[in-house]
């Protein structure tokens, strides 16, 4: 037949992310940014309480690194606990809503309305409910923050299935469980990860802001707050750097999990063929 097409070799080229060469521009921007910061602060004699030099922050970070690490881990555990709780509930509720639409009809308006509430305002209340020193008070804030983006994105993924996909499964007389397992859930994965990635950042915000309203001395948010109150702004900045590093690593880990589980997604096609 005239229709034979040769298979193209699979996985040609780059499989896992960028090569070192692709990172050069990003690294250059980082270096220039830090350099400009250092240069401007030095040139204009900016007061340290306004903006410390990057080198000073680096020094502070290095000398306090073991304390920062344990404080960071303490706060990160709160964030992670809240993340697991909020995201888990979000996915569960999305599955329930998708499986039983009347439920979604009854509860969605309230979920949307609740999302419009600045949840962080509840931080002092949570501290009051669960106790200032109880990590669960911070987990609760992080969990509430994570819940909505994960739930709404997962739900969208579960329900935005092409009508023909549903007809196809109907033509095979497939049951509801099959429909979820074979179509709706795989279809939801990329959407769900969008929510899960947003939630990593939100969980760190929830934990740290929760700590600003009071928490144990071994927490990173409390450290940043105390350093600021005593005028040790360079130390506070070092704390912020630790918080940022943890947030970035958290995000990167979830992004990697996304890569690994949804490598089939067309958005990943650049990693298959170049």
């Amino acid at each position: 037949m005239s229709t034979i097409v040769q298979p193209v070799p699979r996985n040609v080229g780059r499989r896992v992310g960028r090569t070192a060469l692709d990172w050069i521009p990003a690294v250059a921007v980082f270096a220039i940014g830090i350099g400009a910061w250092q240069g401007l602060v030095t040139a204009f004699h900016v007061q340290e309480f306004l903006l410390p030099k990057p080198t000073a922050i680096g020094d502070a970070f290095w000398t306090q690194k073991s304390a920062l690490w344990s404080q960071g881990i303490y706060t990160f555990k709160e964030a992670l606990g809240g993340y697991a709780l909020g995201s888990g509930l979000g996915i569960l509720v999305a599955l329930l809503f998708a499986a039983w639409r009347p439920l979604a009809g009854a509860f969605m308006p309230y979920a949307v309305a609740a999302n419009a509430i600045p949840i962080i305002a509840f931080a002092p209340i949570m501290n009051n409910w669960f106790g200032l020193l109880n990590p669960f008070s911070k987990m609760a804030i992080a969990a509430v923050l994570c819940f909505f983006p994960v739930m709404i994105n997962t739900l969208r993924g579960l329900t935005s299935v092409h009508p023909s996909s549903i007809e196809l499964m109907q033509s095979y007389a497939a049951g509801r469980l099959s429909m979820f397992r074979r179509v709706r859930i795989p279809n939801a994965l990329p959407h769900m990860f969008t929510g899960l990635k947003v939630a990593t950042v939100l969980s760190m915000i929830g934990a740290i802001v929760g700590e600003y309203f009071g928490g144990p001395i071994e927490a990173l948010g409390v450290k940043i707050l105390n350093d600021s109150s005593y005028g040790n702004f360079t130390d506070a900045w070092a704390g912020i750097v630790m918080a940022s590093l943890l947030g970035i690593v958290f995000y990167a880990v979830v992004a990697l999990a996304e890569r690994l589980t949804t490598s089939w997604h067309p958005s990943a096609r650049a990693f298959h063929t170049e």
């Binding site: 023909s164 196809l168 095979y172 497939a174 994965l189 298959h272």
Partner: protein
């Protein structure tokens, strides 16, 4: 026993639009029947009624002597849509074996059948590709392989090549005829291309629009097997003219069989 038997099938949509009105049609086993008509004549709706994906408002539908719903539950037919409807998260091989999984075939049997189907649609070597790595024509071949994987006796096709370019379409037409003969299945094929309908079919059912009715039937007596030279035979052109006149008599504006779909989109 008829492969498909429609008696007095009517379909009204909620908006009060009559999509189909009193359709009577029998399809014999082994036939290749095309439904052709202007957009809005309900030909896709009729195909979905045969497949029990839409219920008729009136009339009876039987597939292989069974009521449509029973036939669907018994996997009597495979269906191919205009979009290939392949799942991105599955490889080509896994897309083809989807219905086999649902039928609880064991892995060995599934793999053997997938291999057979890959050969049938000439895609061997692409097993582990993902759908979006294939061209539109190749995707549609995967879709056909999937529809035939569990050896249904009836193949329902809803404008399967409508989105493809002319050359790919003609090539796949020839392939489809080969597959039809190799698998000795019955095909009900929806199209709005007159040439495609005549080239493929043993019988062309011409439909009129609003409400959708059977306006006429053209028996295609072109010899089998049909090849690319079939399209150059005088008899081919006579039949094309016959179908075109049938469409004109049914009230389809000539040269305008692709007007925007109204009724079919309502569902």
């Amino acid at each position: 026993m008829k492969a498909v038997s429609l008696k007095g099938v009517s379909k009204q949509f909620n908006a009060g639009v009559t999509a189909l009105d009193g359709i009577d049609l029998d399809v014999e086993p082994g036939e290749f029947v095309s439904l052709i008509g202007p957009s809005g004549c309900g030909k896709s709706t009729l195909l979905r009624i045969i497949g029990d994906l839409t219920k008729p408002t009136a009339g009876t539908v039987q597939v292989n002597g069974k009521p449509a719903e029973r036939a669907r539950r018994d996997h009597e037919y495979g269906i191919v849509f205009q979009d290939a409807v392949l799942y991105d998260w599955r490889t080509v091989a896994k897309n083809i074996s989807l219905p086999l999984e649902l039928l609880r075939w064991n892995r060995g049997r599934r793999n053997a059948r997938v291999k057979e189907m890959m050969e049938l649609v000439e895609l061997t070597g692409f097993e582990s590709h993902h759908p979006w790595q294939l061209s539109g024509g190749m995707q549609q071949r995967v879709s056909i392989a999937r529809a035939l994987s569990f050896s249904p006796t009836l193949l329902l096709m809803d404008e399967p090549f409508g989105a493809l370019d002319e050359m790919t379409r003609e090539r796949l037409n020839t392939e489809l005829l080969r597959i039809w003969q190799e698998t000795s299945s019955t095909v009900v094929f929806v199209t709005h291309s007159i040439a495609e309908a005549v080239f493929l079919s043993t019988r062309v059912v011409v439909m009129s629009a609003r409400p959708g009715r059977v306006a006429g039937v053209v028996d295609v007596d072109l010899p089998q097997p049909r090849t690319s030279t079939t399209r150059e035979e005088p008899r081919f052109f006579e039949l094309v003219t016959q179908v075109r006149e049938g469409l004109a008599a049914a009230g389809a504006p000539l040269g305008e069989t692709q007007e925007p779909a109204l009724v079919e989109d309502l569902q």
